[in-house]
Amino acid sequence: MEKIYSRASGIFEGAVSGFCPGCMHSTICKIVTQVIDELNMTDHTCFIQGVGCCGLSITYLDMDTISAPHGRACAIASAFKRCAPETLVFTYQGDGDLASIGLAETISAANRGENFTVIFVNNGTYGMTGGQMAPTTLVGTKTTTSPYGRDPGEHGYPIHMCELLSQLSAPAYIARVTCADVPNVRKAKAAVKKAFEYQLAGKGFSFVEFVTNCPTNWGMSPLETLDYVRDTVLNEFPLGEFRAK
């Protein structure tokens, strides 16, 4: 029989990820490394980690990496890619990292049309620090810093990064995907591939938002999170390609 599905070489041999059970961070690591393998770029990649659970990839992904200060991955990637244009560069950032503290860096890099790829993990919370409210948290959701639920009057509404970035002229590729079921995992992988291909073709800024889960801080079992993502979160964050120049 032939091997038709396996881990990619970008994951350390035999490694066990530090992510929680059922966390789609793991799925993202898996498909991103698969795409990079398919593009034969594992040895020519540098990924720039935001601060958050994505930082757990430091012991999981066997590729060159830079650990960015919280929120600044897009600034680092902008400079790095310009100084090392042959390297495939992507940032890997959570919603706290990218859409809160790093909002200016994200939008500014997108607006300059920097030629790298952003992998954005929208799990609606600050996972690593224990479940605080993120800009993407759904209205009504109780978190440790919105203990009475996210209230539009006090906290406003969830921020939609794909839609926001689509207002800019420079970005080349913008898509929102999820990993909540098999067809979507496949679409997500295709989107990542397209984003990297855009980068390799020098088209400029590419951005893939993953609508994901955080079983631990959502206080749900992994299986429950799949339903919640599909039934509730996706209503707020519709999937699709927003830009493909």
Partner: protein, 361 residues
């Protein structure tokens, strides 16, 4: 010998950096150093270097972090409050042991301060340019020739120690013009050779066995934070013997010592000359490296014949002068001549204070 060129401080520093091989600069407008990013914006294309106007100081400092991670020589500059904004990234770069050159053209403070020159960031530069207790070599020039030479050297020092190096200048030095002789430009071949030594650059494993990780202590699971802190502490200790640099001027028979650094250093020096002309036996200690502190210069003094030390700086309350007092440790009287707020220290005032401390000739 190369021709002397009449140049503005900001531009002289920028051109010297480019000649030292700086191929990436990120910065954000702030007076009095706007001419630095502006110069790089004009010049970088001609040396195939990259200039980015960052969206902020925070972003600019992080861009330099990214550039350094790629192995190119790189630099950022700002002024006072802008340096505060860079302090997290500076701490990261020191933690990740990346060679970068930072320039602070100091203005008044605290806060936004005036756009006029000051030396109010001495403590920040030499004691804590960010969290975590790291150190950097800090160089401070007194004139533009020294600014040019120190800038050039800063890139070598950054690479030698794989650590950020700071140039502590001031708005005066950035804005003034003076003739300078520029160092020779490094060739592309020389720069390629330098970049090739940077095996830590995360430009892809390229068949290498180990993936490379650029991060600070605490994240790299292969070595503990304490080990990294100890390793760095050892390097800092080495600087105390290898990298202290200061000028002594007419020290031998001096009964009064003036001490000052940076722009104030040159003023103090000319005050020494004028005082000598009047028959006062005064000398000068002028630190060029301001971190580590030139304690040795003060230890070498013959306190038997010294009436006192006058420390001059553009900072209120004193900062540099506190280090002078610590170094002197009570062996003689230390007095200060201070100003702030854009008033660069008046030579006349220094002379007056010196005479007071000197007493009868």
């Amino acid at each position: 010998m190369a021709e002397k060129i009449f140049m503005k401080g900001c531009e002289a520093v920028s051109e010297s950096a480019i000649r030292a091989g700086c191929r990436f600069f990120a910065g954000y407008p702030i007076t009095p150093q706007n001419e630095v990013p502006e110069y790089f914006a004009r010049r970088m294309p001609s040396v195939k270097g990259v200039f980015i106007q960052g969206e902020s100081e925070v972003a600019s400092a992080n861009m330099v972090y990214g550039a350094a991670a790629s192995g190119v020589r790189c630099m950022t500059s700002s002024s006072s409050c802008g340096i505060s904004l860079k302090s997290e990234a500076i701490s990261f770069m020191a933690g990740a042991r990346l060679p970068v050159v930072l320039a602070n053209f100091q203005r008044g403070g605290p806060g936004i301060g005036t756009i006029q020159p000051a030396q109010q960031d001495y403590n920040q530069a030499t004691k804590a340019s960010g969290n975590g207790g790291f150190r950097m070599l800090v160089l401070s020039p007194s004139d533009l020739q020294e600014a040019v030479d120190m800038t050039y050297r800063a890139f070598d020092l950054a690479d030698k120690y794989q650590n950020p190096v700071m140039l502590l200048l001031d708005g005066f030095t950035g804005a003034m013009m003076e003739p300078v002789i520029l160092p020779e430009a490094k060739t592309d071949e020389e720069l390629d050779a330098i970049r090739a030594t940077k095996t830590y650059a995360t430009t892809g494993k390229k068949g290498g066995k180990q993936h490379k990780v650029i991060c600070g202590p605490g994240l790299d699971t292969r070595v503990s934070q304490e080990e990294m802190n100890r390793r760095d502490a050892k390097m800092y200790e080495g600087w105390e013997t290898d990298e202290i640099d200061y000028e002594e001027f007419l020290i031998d028979d001096a009964e009064l010592i003036l001490t000052a650094y940076g722009i104030t250093g040159r003023i103090a020096k000319s005050a020494v000359k004028l005082l000598r002309a009047e028959g006062y036996k005064v000398g000068l200690i002028r630190p060029r490296t301001i971190y580590p502190f030139s304690k040795v210069a003060f230890d070498n003094l013959d306190y038997g014949k010294i009436r006192g030390i006058l420390s001059a700086e553009m900072a209120i309350p004193e900062q540099f002068s506190t280090d002078v007092k610590t170094a002197v440790c009570g062996r003689t009287k230390v007095e200060t001549a201070l100003s702030s707020g854009g008033n660069i220290l008046d030579r006349g005032y220094i002379i007056e204070q010196a005479k007071k401390l000197y007493g009868d000739k």
